[in-house]
Symmetry: C2
Subunit: 302 residues, 2 copies
């Protein structure tokens, strides 16, 4: 997905929020905003939004002199998610459709996104979990997802944020975990999950975890390590969590299921859904490519 | 009031909204956004927000090649306000406190601000009128306002937007109109009222109307005509409508009553009120100056 003009005001606001979170020094806040404005003025709009996010957060880390300004917040969200994890797990176990419940919860976990909102209250999280369990959801996508997962041999699960990975764990436990590699970011960026978060939340005990070598808040393939790109190339299914992964991979011809909550109007428009909708969606770019080569027999490929 | 860092994302969003309203040409939208980003990157933050608003809207008018892109919308809001005017007038007439009701309605009229929100539905306007008539409101300010108005001889009423001026008319009718001069903008900027709007809505029939010679969406004295500045200097009371006039005049040592709805968090913070609050407030800069010179006897001056 390309950058839309509507994204730009949001970049500026997010950069200021992030700068304030990273330091109380108002001169640095101003410097960050001015630099982001300069950067945005000459922006290549054909990039995906996380490409500028990557530059903005590099800039903030450099100006603030802190390579992980979100560390404390990430830990707070990890602990918060771990506290409610057992209860959620029990909910999945006793559900009539555990896979669907786990997908719903994985999407609920996607609310913990400080790129979109600087802070979130614990009570809000409980409310959104309850909403996510009851909201309308097209479960035909669940069955397609189940089928594709069952036939896949090598899957990458691209994680999104710290805290959220605990919810991802619930979904991974419903899948053949031995065929899955969880992918975290190579370096800290915003509140995206890194190896530290995967270890802290126990994900490394149930699934193989690698990092993608990149500090983009999404999956910009050119920015990732060669090792990750090889694995991406060789995987027969990608499960991509969150907006950043949708924004960076929506145009890639690869069998991808996007799992996210559409949190902003631009992404909702791109997805053709309402803001706030829960999305489990197989890549349209992949469907189009398969349609083109096989005359519409997408299922013949899986 | 100076520009806060929080204002900048809002400038970018407003510029894009305004560009889209002015033309369907997406290349111009992009050009406007890029130019505004450049302008903002080197911004003098000690200016008031309307100083950059003035530059942004000059830029849009120039790039679009239209000296009044909001003309149609202004006319639409003028007509809309005129349609409901008689009913509102009757409401003021039969009110227990006509001055308070008229102030409440003048503030309700301040919702018609396309600088903050690109469009507003007719049903929303009715709802906000009803809310404005019943919302909490510190009526001690009303009595102070009444006293100051009764003692004043030369008053300027600084209008804000088209459409809104019809609501201002209700308030002016509760004041000694012969001592009031209504001031509109010298040239079109956003949906700010100009002489055309004052004439169309019949304001010119009940009160003397002048323009301030400026195209700033507020009252930047240095940007106004010498004639207006003389009148401003000589007036013993200024009634200043809307956010733009608050932002540009809040630090001026002059007896001013600000009449507005605090529509954004930055202004609300500056005013020390909640977003959405209705404000009738005598200038703090003036109070401070009088306190300093008279030992707190502000009323001795009026």
């Amino acid at each position: 997905m390309q950058i839309y003009l509507d994204c730009i005001a949001c970049f500026v606001r997010q950069a200021l929020d992030a700068a304030r979170l990273a330091t109380d020094d108002e001169q640095i806040h101003e410097k960050v905003v001015r630099e982001v404005l300069r950067l945005a003025a000459d922006l290549d709009m054909s990039q995906s939004p996380p490409a500028i996010g990557q530059q903005i957060h590099r800039l903030i880390r450099e100006l603030v002199g802190d390579d992980d300004p979100y560390r404390e917040l990430k830990q707070r969200y990890n602990r918060l998610a771990l506290r409610i994890c057992d209860e959620l797990k029990e909910g999945v176990r006793t559900s009539e459709n555990p896979l669907e419940t786990a997908v719903r919860l994985a999407i609920a976990g996607n609310i913990i996104d400080l790129g979109v909102k600087t802070s979130i209250k614990e009570s809000e999280i409980e409310e959104i979990i309850n909403d996510s369990l009851t909201a309308d959801f097209d479960n035909r996508q669940i069955e397609e997802f189940r089928n594709v997962v069952n036939r896949a041999e090598k899957m990458l699960y691209l994680a999104d944020n710290a805290g959220e990975v605990v919810f991802d764990r619930l979904l991974i436990e419903q899948l053949p975990a031995e065929k899955i590699t969880l992918v975290v970011k190579g370096k800290p960026v915003i509140n995206d999950a890194t190896m530290e978060d995967a270890e802290f939340t126990g994900l490394t005990e149930i699934v193989k975890v690698i990092d993608n070598g990149s500090d983009a808040p999404g999956t910009i393939l050119e920015s990732c390590s060669q090792d990750f790109r090889n694995r991406f190339e060789n995987a027969d299914l990608i499960i991509a969590k969150g907006q950043g992964n949708y924004e960076t991979l929506s145009d890639v011809n690869k069998d991808i299921f996007f799992v996210l909550k559409a949190k902003c109007p631009v992404i909702a428009k791109d997805l053709g859904c309402e803001v706030g909708e829960m999305i489990l969606r197989r890549s349209q770019a992949y469907r189009n490519a398969v349609d083109f080569s096989s005359g519409g027999q997408i299922d013949a490929r899986i």
